[in-house]
Amino acid sequence: MENRTVLEQYHKNIYLKLVFGAVVAALLTAAILYAIAVGSYRLTVAEVVNILLMRDLDSTAHHVIWNIRLPRILTAIISGAGLSIAGAAMQSILRNPLGSPFTLGISSAAAFGAAVALGFLGAGTMTSSAAEASIIINNPYLVTICAFASSLVATAVILILAQLKGATPETMILTGVALGSLFTAGTTFIQYFSDQVRIAAIVFWTFGDVGKAGWNDLAVISAVTFPAVVYFIINSWNYNTLKAGDETAKSLGVNVERTRVIGMLLSSLLTAVIVSFIGIIGFVGLVIPHIVRRFIGGNETYLLPLSAITGGLLLLGADTLARTVIAPVVLPVGILTSFMGAPLFIYLVVKGRGYW
């Protein structure tokens, strides 16, 4: 019977993690419905339900929901989930609380790629009408492909150095930080030699905005995110042992180098795909895993999927706020996440972290 009590404690602990997951999932569902209804074209919940059930095919409301709001909402959720799980995986793989797509230079590399496309390859132009000037990126796929290729270069450099000098967390983080500033320098260089229109286009692109993505983009992002989430969850016990140190992990039969290299490759790829389509969204990948860890502890089997759901919720919430806070102006969500993320992170550093 003694035996029971330890197991009972363990199961109770798991149960609490699942409760946390259920709460986040419920909030996410509510947030989706709210986000569909709210905006410059207001809808009632009844209308929303009708349209989602395909009962009303011709109205403006149908167009607004299926062509504008749903792709935007789903892009926010999937991107938030992808960036968060990538951040959570990087933190464990590199045994470093500062691991995130941002700190490892992958986002900066994507921005550089976009800057090359917009500054040199002429992918963006500006149109001015009497009332307002707006920037049009007339070849979005060229920008996406360049951003993606550039983040792959960053990933490749990190991994090649890891192969040459040993796949230690220190090698990877230091290389990532160095690459980040190199790519930022490259972007600044391009901006210096660009005209106003191109500078504007580059700056505009770097504001992460989930409204950029349509259904096709969303399909690509999802096609990478879902398998990555499954892979990370399957490997969660490898990451659990990695946190205990390379020697311990090896003694427990884990192929440390391979686990680390594949995990980094996958989380970098995931980040690269998301950032290429929607631009830079700061802090989500860094902050979300820390928030979730505060609630449910460090067990990766739960931390990884719950970081994904929580990240989806947070980015959707932030985007909905960004759409409505100073309506009719729609803020790019990337600006808002940086605003919210920085104080949140400082709060966690000062108050919340019992663990590093």
């Binding site: 035996n3 363990y10 045994r95 659990n240 140190g245 090896k250 460090g298 663990y355």
Partner: protein, 253 residues
């Protein structure tokens, strides 16, 4: 022989750390590895667990060359207890011990894995701290957790790297009693240890390393002043107190 080491040499870059080590460990034996700092004790343990790759020589486990083991097989054969372990992220005591089932699980622990771990938690009297973070427990408890993890691997051999260095007197005795108890159940141990009195009391055989070479090996006679004094460069006195031989360091030579 459960472990048989022939002519083992290892070097960091070109600096030799171990040279021509010969060793044997029998079933249920507790081998104490002693020697001053930098004499190669930890390196020897890491070579046996294939964490480090030796330059030359062979290590046989139960008659089989270690390079022929898969990583999983190694992890089921040998439990390695590091000197200390730092995690920057929260890990509960239970989960830390559950890591010992990693060589047996695919992606998720089974109910029998959980059952085994809870039995180990109980037998080491860790129930009251099972759900606490390992960062919040004492050094003695943490050492027990690391040993508990190795026990969860159900290994034939335990490698312990200075398991008593950070412990108070009571925990030192508890940990070494545990090692002795496991030896009685057939689990051999190789213990790198600084405390010669604990070594004398708990180890069934001893090997004394000096600058990566075996200076002396055998039973308690290894602890005689003619071995200890030149290797540690310390004048010692020994005396017998009941059934234990006590080693009292006197002054540096």
């Amino acid at each position: 022989m459960i472990i048989k080491i022939n002519d083992l040499s290892f070097s960091y870059n070109s600096h030799p750390v171990l040279q021509d080590i010969q060793l044997e460990v029998g079933k249920g034996e507790v081998l104490g590895v002693i020697g001053p700092n930098g004499s190669g004790k930890s390196t020897l343990l890491k070579c046996i667990d294939r964490i480090l790759k030796p330059k030359s020589g062979s290590i046989l486990l139960d008659g089989k060359e270690i390079n022929r083991f898969s990583m999983r097989e190694m992890a089921r054969f040998i439990g390695y207890v590091p000197q200390r372990e730092e995690s920057r992220f929260p890990v509960t005591v239970f989960d830390a011990i559950l890591m010992g089932r990693k060589p047996f699980l695919n992606w998720k622990p089974s109910s029998s894995d959980l059952e085994k771990v809870s039995q180990i938690v109980e037998s080491l009297k860790l129930e009251s701290i099972a759900m606490r973070e390992i960062g919040s427990i004492s050094g003695g408890e943490r050492q027990k957790v690391l040993i508990a993890r190795a026990i969860a691997q159900e290994p034939q051999v335990l490698l312990l790297d200075e398991p008593t260095s950070y412990l108070d007197l009571r925990h030192q005795l508890e940990v070494m009693d545990l090692v002795k108890h496991l030896a009685g159940e057939g689990t051999s141990s190789v213990v790198a240890i600084h405390d010669l009195n604990l070594a004398s009391r708990y180890c069934s055989s001893l090997v004394l390393l000096q600058e990566g070479k075996v200076f002396a090996a055998g039973g308690k006679e290894v602890l005689a002043p003619e071995n200890i004094e030149p290797v540690y460069r310390v004048k010692i006195q020994t005396c017998c107190e009941g059934k234990h031989t006590l080693i009292i360091p006197d002054k540096p030579l």
